[in-house]
Symmetry: C2
Subunit: 397 residues, 2 copies
Amino acid sequence: MELQIRTPRRSLSRDWTIAIGDHTFDYCVRSGGRAWSDLLPRLAALQVDHFVMIADTGVREKAEEACRRIAALPGSTCTLFLLPVNEATKSIATIEQLSLRAEHEVGITVNSCIIGFGGGLVANIAGFLAAIQFRGLRLIQMPTTLLSMADVMPSVKQGVNTSAGKNHLGTYTAPLFVWADLTSLRTLPRIEIQSALCEMMKFILTIAPPHGSTLYETIIAELHPDMRYQEDQLLRIIHLCVEAKCQILAGDPHEQGEGLLFEYGHTVGHALELLSSQGPDPLPHGLAIGLGMLVAARVARMLGLLSEREEKTHHGFLHLIGVPTRIPATLSTDAILALLRHDNKRGRLKALPDDEIAMVLLRHLHEPHRTEKTVLTRVPLTVVRAAIEATRLDVFA
Amino acid sequence: MELQIRTPRRSLSRDWTIAIGDHTFDYCVRSGGRAWSDLLPRLAALQVDHFVMIADTGVREKAEEACRRIAALPGSTCTLFLLPVNEATKSIATIEQLSLRAEHEVGITVNSCIIGFGGGLVANIAGFLAAIQFRGLRLIQMPTTLLSMADVMPSVKQGVNTSAGKNHLGTYTAPLFVWADLTSLRTLPRIEIQSALCEMMKFILTIAPPHGSTLYETIIAELHPDMRYQEDQLLRIIHLCVEAKCQILAGDPHEQGEGLLFEYGHTVGHALELLSSQGPDPLPHGLAIGLGMLVAARVARMLGLLSEREEKTHHGFLHLIGVPTRIPATLSTDAILALLRHDNKRGRLKALPDDEIAMVLLRHLHEPHRTEKTVLTRVPLTVVRAAIEATRLDVFA
């Protein structure tokens, strides 16, 4: 990843060039007035006839304002399609409806452009629509959540869910560019910031920092459970995540090999997220992943891979972020284990018996345990069960 | 296109390497026993866990036989999904249904492979499913019609229709290889052969033959309205079409520029096809395109581009193929003209008024008339009307 620093003393502005496989695109971070004064000339240069902005109903006002500004460009229209975005609307039916609305209500052509405005779900929907409408329209991503800026944008994975699974239909498609306006994070609920920080911790725990970089230390030193993060701090957090993720994606654009590291904490984390979503207290994605990483750390310790000190580091990070370090009693171990049988990493290890699962484990901080030419390890369910039980009481608290 | 000739004296066998943009794939033509003895080792080498064969109900028996042979490969299963293939089933809903059946009934994984078995429609459906299932599965095309072998296979365009238009959702996706078994053409109805020959004529009329090639002359000399074509003749026909199409696609993989030549005869031809499909005597695609080319030739002559002799060549070719050279009286000129307003080439010329359409025209045989840096020409509807009327009586018959 190439880093260009522009006029750092006025308002915040960073441009990165992201390279993932054959895809290359710009990732631009701005704050304040430059978020618009830099964007509009860039959009005008594209000579787009119609912009179609797909946004989450949760960011309606920001999206309407953005749409008005873009529609004022000479020669272009901009139409806003608002969606109640959740895993259920992330479907192929939604894609077809958006396609038909864009054709009938807007009259899009091959010279039109799709904008994804919102969080990661809306980015995947907008990205997949752009990938297949007329066999490919131009795409611009305008993420408005820290999770999307830090973890979803450095990726070319687009897609929707089917009843058979999450993201089972999709493509690898890059945007023209990503435009991240830090101003939009000002009103983001604290728990969404914390959720993104859990994913950042995943990168810190699994991937070694670039040689000579002190970014990890700087960011960790700034973390505090009650923190309201400043824009320069948020920029550093995004920088760390984008850099770490791209370091892996450069060699594994489709996340089939080393990219499975991004699944750290996700095996048990996904199960906790899904299970809790059926009850009164749904765990936000990042918080579920945080707990999943604690289980993975405990499993690794039980298998003699991680030291007590290294496991404790996992807990310490979550304490700094201010998120739970104990699996809620309402989520039963049996129910969690039942869901693990459907984990999508199962097929990656050959002939995995029913009483084992495939997990990403660490043998040291920043160093995955490798077996069978993968970053996955076969783990007996009995060990996972014990690790889940152990994560109900935080002995390091 | 690179041509390799293998053991031409025994059974027919040709392997071409097709290069379209960044996509490269093998196009293999076989006949007789080699269609299977060469294919099976090739399939075995892929180490596929599950083959899913998508086929038209019209080729049920051939597909079942093919599926049995492939299922006998050690380590692989092969499951047949039969579809009543028509423009209505070529939908995103069909793609999702196939995806769910493949997951639930077969248990496909990232190591599975989709096979398209049948005509061009099934190829587009199978191709699009392979493009987006798990963000891309392997794809093999086994065309069973001459039109698909000659005109659809040398292409990476996949897609489905929406209510807004044909192929409005899709991707550019290449197969691993195309496997064309000439044996499957033995039982093809004569009119389907003639339909494919009309598309071949489109290539002959619009694209100059490779320097020094006598293929055009050889094939034209072999045409006869009552002909039953031999396999070596069919191979030459496929060769001509694949070579002509790839010559253009090499420089224009997405068919946005020079590739619009493939639309020759299609402006009026599509209207005739659609209109006649609503009546008792639907015109097969190729025959409609044949008539569309006659209208295009007449328009070109009215605009002073083509000579009488060159227009006559158009009619002579259709006579040799044995297809109609007169627009049926049941299709009214007003109804045809009304449909032309929705032609998808309209948007390619700027600010085209309602009383003009965009057509591919020739200024000489093998030489398109170019305007506004395209191979399209603005034509007043009054001229099109007169040309349609003139094509109701074949003055060259």
